[in-house]
Symmetry: C3
Subunit: 340 residues, 3 copies
């Protein structure tokens, strides 16, 4: 029931300015904090709330510590320190163990005795589930899939057959892992289904958002390396390869066999064409369309910001004839040169 | 079984031109209506079907009533009147009551005796469900969540823990409310999960589309005020606040802490960046990217309409070098001025 | 367990160059194939792997057959031939029959005795399910819906009431068919729900991707003709009509009453506005926004490819004032003409 500021500062790694015996029992934003709670200042947009916060303590960078009206835990990276503090002050519920009577377990499964298979979960034959892994409710795990230790599948997650998942995975509700890729061969105008025979291979410490879908490979696997983080409503097509510690925001679509590097950040609503490569440490901003390989680190964009509609329409009308406009400019330059 | 035109005109509020005793038993489009059915003309695109409709009656604006070959209910807003008529003529099925034997109910729940908990629904501990609310099948409601009276959750809806929902909510299949936000702190290139400790607070008369996802807040709540309507495949990130009576079309993505006003309309596929504010009565057209706050009502756009591909490519090739083109124009203006 | 190359060449229709008695037991990519496996070369990007492949045989076009270090099945369309070969070499699991004890079946259903209703499936009253159709697990089929023979519904699929589906449908996990359309009438600033009374009518040989949603019609049906293929995360609004053998990639949104022709291909992330018509044989490239009807075959685009961010910003800054730039050019042309 709470930690003292002294313990907290030691465990999250910061310099305490204030009473080490003050007990912290909750976390809150600067504007909504009260006594007993700790807050943080990471995004300077919220600095305006600092002077009037009622928090008992604030996790803060050295340069703003002087403005803090409460105790402070001073650290170079308050957001990281806050993440640690929140996990200590509001620990997750203790894991459950066993199998709910309404769950259905297939043959030849190896389910660790410390795992939890919740109500209405369906586990097909030959599935392995590691120590402590929690399947909340209504989850499906297809034949011969393996989920490592320490994972959490929220309600109504679907893991299809032959998917291999590492340790500590978190999957949010409605996500689908291992659905068939969109493999079609056109024969005289009709589409023939190409069997999707690969699997999905997911590393450790991966998180997958609500209603996101990840297709299985056509022949080889679709791969998410360690530490990949996917937001909600994302589409990952067959044989995509996502490098370690890459984070992808909501509503992104990634086409087949695209290969994304490590430590990349892909903004919301971006689209990535298939059969290309994106280097490590690339940032793609929101709603950008990547159509060619990107060979070096950097920031890449094509999302078009909103304008007032009539202004947009005037500009867009010119854009529709931009090639003509460019030709007119060239003609004028030539006339001018000829005259000179 | 059916209503007379007289009753109908009175209940939906329109002036009847025709036989008040004519019995209406169905609703239909102008082109597919037959005897006994009522149709409507709201979008003038469909006026061409009016003269040959076989409907027994048409709900119509005064200016088109003269062209109507059948009885007419004349009103200033035929679409609103039609919505009311359809609900009267084709009433929803009577609500069910009780709990299906396959449902699983946790401890300390308060489920109104007039509510229906359908097959395979899973209700965790401490949940409240109001009078008449219907959970169709396979729904999950996490611990301590509250759903008001008169609601309808279609199949396979997931409401996570600690979500508060008002009265008369409608949630379509596969929607997820209260999943974790995408909160990550970067520490030496690796992502640390930031616990998502807020909830979701939803007002009255809200509708949420199929496979839409709404994340819980990081600390404070994600909020949807009264009368908000969300279409399918929408992503609402943590701590978004959507004002009353705002309607959002399919495939929109809204980033964290964005604040959208009341009576807004957001077109399909639009993207809204986080930590900004959109005023009341703003319309954002389809596939627009909103990157800055919008301080006043109006229409805002950046969606780019299609062109024939080779024309598009020519224009786009110029766009890639638009800055150079603008510099060339400026240089030419200066040469011209110097000469003048 | 495996087929000889002779059998295979005959059944997929190609000319065999090599030992007809060689037994093939698996399929693989050129780079990962080993003895006993057959590979293919369709996309010339992968030609570089041909000379060193360890495959026992390769399905290949005549012009590359000379380079093949293994046996070859020579055919004009290796991808089609490969699709056939893969289905023969790795046949799907044999279908199951009957009803899992945890499934719930309503009244007045006609479920063929060769169909399979898997664990936790919920079938409402009056449903028909054809011969051999498989419902994997956790699927919901609403009252009076009909699903033809030979279909496969993967886990957690939702088919709402009154949906009619042809033969051999495949639906991937989390897809929703028949949710309410986004029908709203605005009355004094508040939204009134317009009852969605139509159904969904789906032809034969249709495939629907994971977490895709297809709304029911408002009055008439939403229609997908024979052979339509939808990828994941797609939104199909009410009363959309998709012509036969059209393929639509992931994350596309199609607004209400849009009518798309036959044999079209719609690229990922494209958006199609409502109440328009797209002709047969139209290709829409990725992330394009179609705002007007397209009356003839061809390729249409408006997706904007990524640039390095600072270059993009410079170009975009000019685009925001493109109308002014065009006016300046016109002014300069006039000054020049006046001088001439």
């Amino acid at each position: 029931m709470g930690l003292t500021l002294g313990e907290l500062a030691e465990r999250i790694g910061g310099e305490l300015r204030g009473d080490p015996d003050c007990v912290i029992t909750s976390v809150a934003t600067l504007q909504h904090a009260g006594p007993g709670s700790i807050s943080f200042l990471a995004n300077t947009t919220y600095r305006k709330y600092l002077s009037r916060t009622a928090a008992s303590a604030v996790i803060i960078r050295p340069e703003f510590a002087g403005e803090c009206p409460a105790a402070a835990i001073v650290t170079a990276d308050p957001y990281v320190a806050y993440a640690r503090a929140a996990a200590l002050i509001v620990p997750p519920l203790p894991p459950r163990q066993g199998t709910h009577p309404s769950a259905s377990i297939g043959k030849d499964c190896q389910i660790d005795s410390s795992a939890w298979i919740g109500p209405n979960c369906i586990i097909e034959d030959g599935v392995h589930i590691g120590a402590g892994t929690q399947l909340a409710a209504g989850c499906f795990v297809g034949r011969d899939s393996r989920i490592g230790a320490g994972g959490y599948l929220h309600a109504n997650v679907v893991i299809c057959h032959g998917v291999r998942v590492g340790e500590r995975i978190i999957v949010h509700p409605g996500a689908v892992i291992g659905s068939d890729g969109f493999g079609l061969a056109n024969e005289h105008g009709q589409w023939l289904k190409v069997p999707q025979l690969g699997g999905v291979c997911i590393g450790n410490d991966v998180e997958i958002g609500a209603n996101t879908s990840i297709d299985r490979g056509a022949l080889d696997d679709t791969v998410l390396e360690d530490g990949v983080k996917l937001d909600n409503q994302i589409q990952v097509a067959h044989n995509v390869h996502i490098g370690a510690h890459t984070a992808i925001a909501g509503c992104v679509g990634i086409s087949g066999s695209a290969r994304i590097g490590r430590h990349c950040m892909i903004g919301g609503g971006a689209g990535i064409v298939g059969h290309l490569e994106i280097a490590d440490n690339v940032t793609v901003t929101g709603m950008t369309m990547v159509t060619k390989s990107i060979s070096g680190p950097g920031v890449y964009s094509s999302g078009v910001p909103a304008q007032e509609n009539s202004e947009w329409n005037r500009n867009y009308a010119r854009f529709r004839k931009l090639d003509q406009l460019a030709r007119r400019l060239l003609a004028l330059e030539r006339r001018f040169d000829a005259k000179d």
